[in-house]
Symmetry: none
Subunit: 432 residues, 2 copies
């Protein structure tokens, strides 16, 4: 089975937007073991779109189209699709009602121009878009005597709408309409702490079931392991996948912090709730990033009490009770300061745990004694506090991001009773 | 003149890599006022590549090909290009010498397989690759009697090699061989405060020079204006662009905060330094995001003293001196609390200015009285403090991001002596 992905839009062709929808769609097709053979982008232009649709119908079985479903004159997907394959456009009343309801929810009246989004090629099956105004459509197109048909799936270009429609509306239809005979199931095991080559080596001999392949994906500062299991049935693929995940988890232990899309801060939040624990942060070099990450999780107010961003020394003293003598003797970027910051935050906020960061993120601000990349991370608990020194050699943004991740990971590790291991990634060294 | 960009590679079609080469190449073509009409990606497969090359030659004048120049069996670009247009592959001795020298520089002997990279279609002009092993090639292909020719430019897929070859080898050849008669210059004026349609309306009658077009680009919570100026010479295009920017800035005033890639937090930092002012933050619903944004700017310690993330009420009282009576009477999400937070942060940190946020970012935590999306932003200055109430109807992430942007924008506006305007975007209302 051959798939083709079409994206429509002048802004893509001008390079104003990097087209990430294509890689998402290709990845999702692989879950049904369908290989994408073509990616084509064309302009919001009738002739070019007609040529593109025709060619795709001739050579591909599944054609995913993204974009061109908006209400403006530039949005031609449905109109050209209908014309290309000799269909009329017909009004889909439920979509019109849904559009009106969508606008009403925001207290606005629907503009006349939006009505266009309720018209579809005759014979198309409409695909719901519960989070946007543009519904999608599936259209089966006959290729001619004995040549079977091509299935077009039109989706919005807005990524979050596209993602939802692909998973909830399109993939199930492809699986049922196109008699898929080989199934693939994949998942993402999220790990933090080892680089890709170390992970690869560690997993080389775990004896995965036949038909399972491992991929790796770097998403700084994490590295994710992606097992893909293929089998003749969905259930068998799923069983192989689960067996593989168990083997990988057995080998990697706590390096795996989650499966799928869950973030480290979300997992850590869940564990904090399970332990009835609360958390505060004291941030210097991360400047608020840890708080931002933690509070990006809905419901984080259940365990996150707050933090102090102590960028200047007087704030470290005044708001975190770091003794002036410690700052004077050891400096802001030092083990004693990090420790005092964590302990100060824990006391001030009255939390079970507190983490602190202080360091020189770069690109400037370093000295021979305290170079760029020198960072201290501290965790304060009821039983005392732990501090480690790191030497990071990434850029400012990644030095900060990695530091934040270590701090959050320490909270998770501490609550799970594990040692406060530091990651082993390229361009970093950990001391003590 | 029509351009087409072809990228070759199974890894692109599997979605393992987001294909950013295409947007780079399209943008660079626009500097010669050449519009890209097609982006096509196909597999490392002889038949698919042949079909792709043929079609591109038939419909496009300039065809940029990226990838497939490596030494392995999968790398088929030169071989298929030659076969498609009836050329032989011939050895290019200088490239072979350069390849051997390249390996010698790293103290390695060239493997026999690499020799392949010195063979090109007969008649091709070889394009130097001083930073990699794969040279590129230009090939002119006749389309047939009276139909002119198509120019193929093959470049490596490795981005930094591609970028260099495009700028140093390909663009000058396109300009000279294809008698480019029109030049284009573009820039990005970054605005915060109005939606795209409002901007469009506001700029409709500013009387741009002939040959200048305006585009718009949304990058939440900002909306950017992109003037593109075309003229018969590079200098004239540049002059028109500058004139256009002046007109746009005259109309939009402080809505334009920067040109190019500079962020609002970087601009605001520069203005803080110019005014010798310092800043502190008190964050509730933004949870550290404002601090994180501000400190992402290298050198921000010159003006950012720190902040308090006061997620729980007791932290608002203990660390920001919000009176218990205010919290009890008005609640954490209220105008008096926001004001007290900003004033408390300004006093505690001893800064010129302080901003505060408190609100209900969602998706839960709202009530009839205080619904999700209710947010207060406050700015404390020497002259007193300002607070506004907002009603936001985005998701949690965007409610927080927009709130943070307003807080930072207020600092900029205050220092520039402008009123603390609130943005007018869809899905938000501002009161007071």
């Amino acid at each position: 089975m051959k798939a083709e992905i079409l994206t429509i839009g002048d802004e893509l062709l001008r390079g104003e937007i990097t087209d990430s929808n294509k890689s998402f769609l290709s990845q999702r097709l692989l879950t049904l073991d369908i290989e994408t053979r073509w990616h084509v982008t064309c302009a919001d232009d009738r002739d070019d779109m007609t040529e593109t649709f025709r060619r795709a119908a001739a050579r591909s079985d599944v054609v995913l189209v993204s974009g061109g479903l908006g209400p403006t004159r530039d949005d031609l997907t449905m109109e050209v699709l209908a014309a290309t394959f000799g269909r009329k456009l017909v009004l889909h009343q439920p979509s019109l009602d849904a559009l009106r309801a969508f606008f009403a929810r925001f207290g606005r009246e629907m503009a006349a121009i939006n009505e266009k989004q309720a018209w579809f090629p005759d014979g198309a099956e409409v695909l719901d878009n519960p989070i946007g105004t543009a519904p999608g459509a599936m259209l089966e197109v006959q290729r001619g005597e004995g040549k079977g048909s091509a299935f077009f799936f039109c989706m919005p270009g807005v990524p979050r709408e596209l993602y939802k429609m692909m998973d909830e509306q399109v993939l199930p239809r492809i699986a049922s309409r196109l008699r898929v005979t080989s199934w693939a199931r994949a998942t993402l095991l999220r790990t933090f702490g080892l680089g890709e080559s170390n992970l690869d080596e560690l997993l080389r001999d775990i004896g995965l079931p036949e038909g399972v392949e491992l991929g790796f994906r770097t998403q700084f500062p994490d590295n994710h392991v992606r097992p893909v299991a293929r089998a003749a049935s969905e259930a068998e693929a799923q069983a192989k996948l689960e067996r593989s995940c168990a083997l990988i988890r057995e080998r990697l232990g706590l390096l795996v912090y989650a499966e799928g899309e869950e973030t480290l801060e979300a997992v850590t939040g869940r564990i904090l709730i399970e332990h009835g624990a609360t958390l505060a942060v004291a941030e210097s070099c991360t400047g608020g990033m840890i708080g931002e990450l933690l509070t990006a999780v809905p419901g984080s107010s259940a365990y996150f009490k707050g933090g102090v961003v102590a960028y200047w020394n007087d704030a470290k003293a005044a708001l975190l009770d770091v003794p002036e003598s410690v700052l004077a003797e050891h400096g802001a970027v030092s083990e004693p300061t990090a420790r005092a910051m964590a302990e100060g935050a824990r006391a001030r906020f009255g939390t079970t745990l507190a983490v602190a960061t202080t360091g020189i993120a770069g690109p400037t601000g370093g000295s021979a004694d305290k170079p760029v990349g020198l960072v201290y991370v501290a965790l304060a608990t009821q039983a005392g506090s732990d501090v480690r020194e790191l030497r990071l050699a990434f850029d400012r943004e990644r030095n900060r991001r990695l530091t934040a991740q270590i701090a959050i990971d320490w909270v998770r590790r501490h609550l799970l009773g594990a040692p406060l291991d530091l990651p082993r990634l390229g361009r970093m060294e950990a001391k003590k």
